[in-house]
């Protein structure tokens, strides 16, 4: 278990500040979208809150699942590293806990998690991980200032355009996910 700087890799819960949809009042479309979004969405305050706008949730879930889980391209542990660095940079404690765990499961180690919790700007056990972390921070903090100098370190690590795009998607969608988690509710201890 890792706890540093207010972040943790323990499982947290999330509490909505709005009224989550009641399953017994859901429309057929809302139930369909919940079931295709996540296996536990019918009991998840997060999915039940987003289900107030079902078509949006449907397309968001499709984008999210394709970005984080699709086979091929960038290694999944590296997508999770990008997600974790963005979540720490944005201060999203809930998303950080989830994606720290996913990184640990996929990479079968936690050294990088400790480093990201300590300081994402210097985190990474290899030059490739450091390049991924720095890119994730740049995309998060100064999207309007991105240029070829931000891409070059990734190419130097041998990443193809498809892999760089996988990383860009993973990093960018946590700009989306963090804002939902941070603005519609808050983390809670189970």
């Amino acid at each position: 278990m890792i706890r540093r700087n207010g972040f943790t890799d323990e499982s947290l819960e999330w509490r909505s500040w709005l009224e989550p949809l009641r399953v017994d009042e859901a429309s057929p479309l809302q139930l369909e979208v919940l079931d295709e979004s996540h296996p536990q969405s019918r009991t998840s305050p997060y999915y039940l809150t987003l289900a107030h706008q079902p078509l949006m949730l449907r397309h968001r879930s499709a984008a999210y699942n394709a970005i984080m889980y699709a086979p091929g391209g960038l290694r999944r542990a590296e997508r999770e590293l990008g997600a974790m660095v963005v979540s720490v940079t944005n201060g999203c404690v809930y998303c950080t806990s989830v994606h720290a765990q996913r990184f640990e499961q996929l990479a079968k180690r936690s050294d990088t998690v400790e480093q990201v919790f300590d300081d994402p700007r210097t985190a990474g056990t290899t030059e490739r991980e450091r390049a991924i972390a720095r890119f994730a921070i740049a995309v998060t903090e100064r999207p309007a200032g991105l240029g070829p100098a931000d891409i070059a370190p990734l190419r130097e690590q041998g990443m193809s355009d498809e892999e760089i795009l996988d990383l860009l998607h993973a990093v960018a969608i946590f700009g989306w996910a963090n804002r939902l988690m941070q603005n519609l509710g808050e983390p809670a201890s189970p």
């Binding site: 984008a63 603005n183 519609l184």
Partner: protein, 163 residues
């Protein structure tokens, strides 16, 4: 533009990033065709999915404000064009629009500022839970969309050129 039309001319990110069919980066995006389709469909749902208390015109006004705050110039042009072409572009904004714009600008620049109190002005302005969810999704999606566009534009530029 519809959610099922995924041709390049209709794809907002391709246009904002300056990608056309035949461009290697245009082809690289299609390695993740599901992401391209779901991203465009998200954009369409954000603007057109009916939500009580949140007009398409006000959503476009919020989108334009987010792009301005974030310096997303080409995406700003896209949303301004949609505003100009909106069926009801002359309609008066909702009385809740100032609160919506403030919420959007804060959340765009610093997601740490999100707290329970930030939702109160929206509720006080008459927005229900579905409208607040839709507004939060809109702002959060734009944070994603403008970063994908910015990253693609950085990838397009030749190495060694000043950014």
């Amino acid at each position: 533009m519809t959610a099922t039309d995924t041709s390049s001319a209709a794809d907002v990110i391709d246009r904002a990033a300056g990608l056309t069919a035949g461009d290697p980066l245009h082809a690289a995006r299609r390695f993740r065709a599901k992401v391209v389709e779901a991203t465009q469909a998200s954009h369409d749902a954000l603007i057109y999915e009916p939500v009580p208390g949140l007009s398409t015109e006000d959503r476009l006004r919020v989108a334009a404000r987010v792009c301005t705050v974030a310096g997303a110039t080409t995406l700003l042009q896209h949303y301004e064009t949609l505003i100009a072409n909106a069926a009801d572009s002359g309609a008066l904004p909702s009385p809740a629009l100032p609160a919506m714009l403030r919420f959007a600008a804060t959340l765009t620049t610093d997601p740490r500022q999100g707290d329970r109190a930030a939702l109160e002005p929206l509720k006080a302005a008459g927005l229900g839970d579905a409208a607040i969810v839709a507004l939060a999704q809109l702002v959060a999606f734009l944070s994603y969309q403008l970063r994908v566009v910015a990253g693609l534009r950085a990838m397009r530029e030749p190495q060694g050129q000043a950014s």
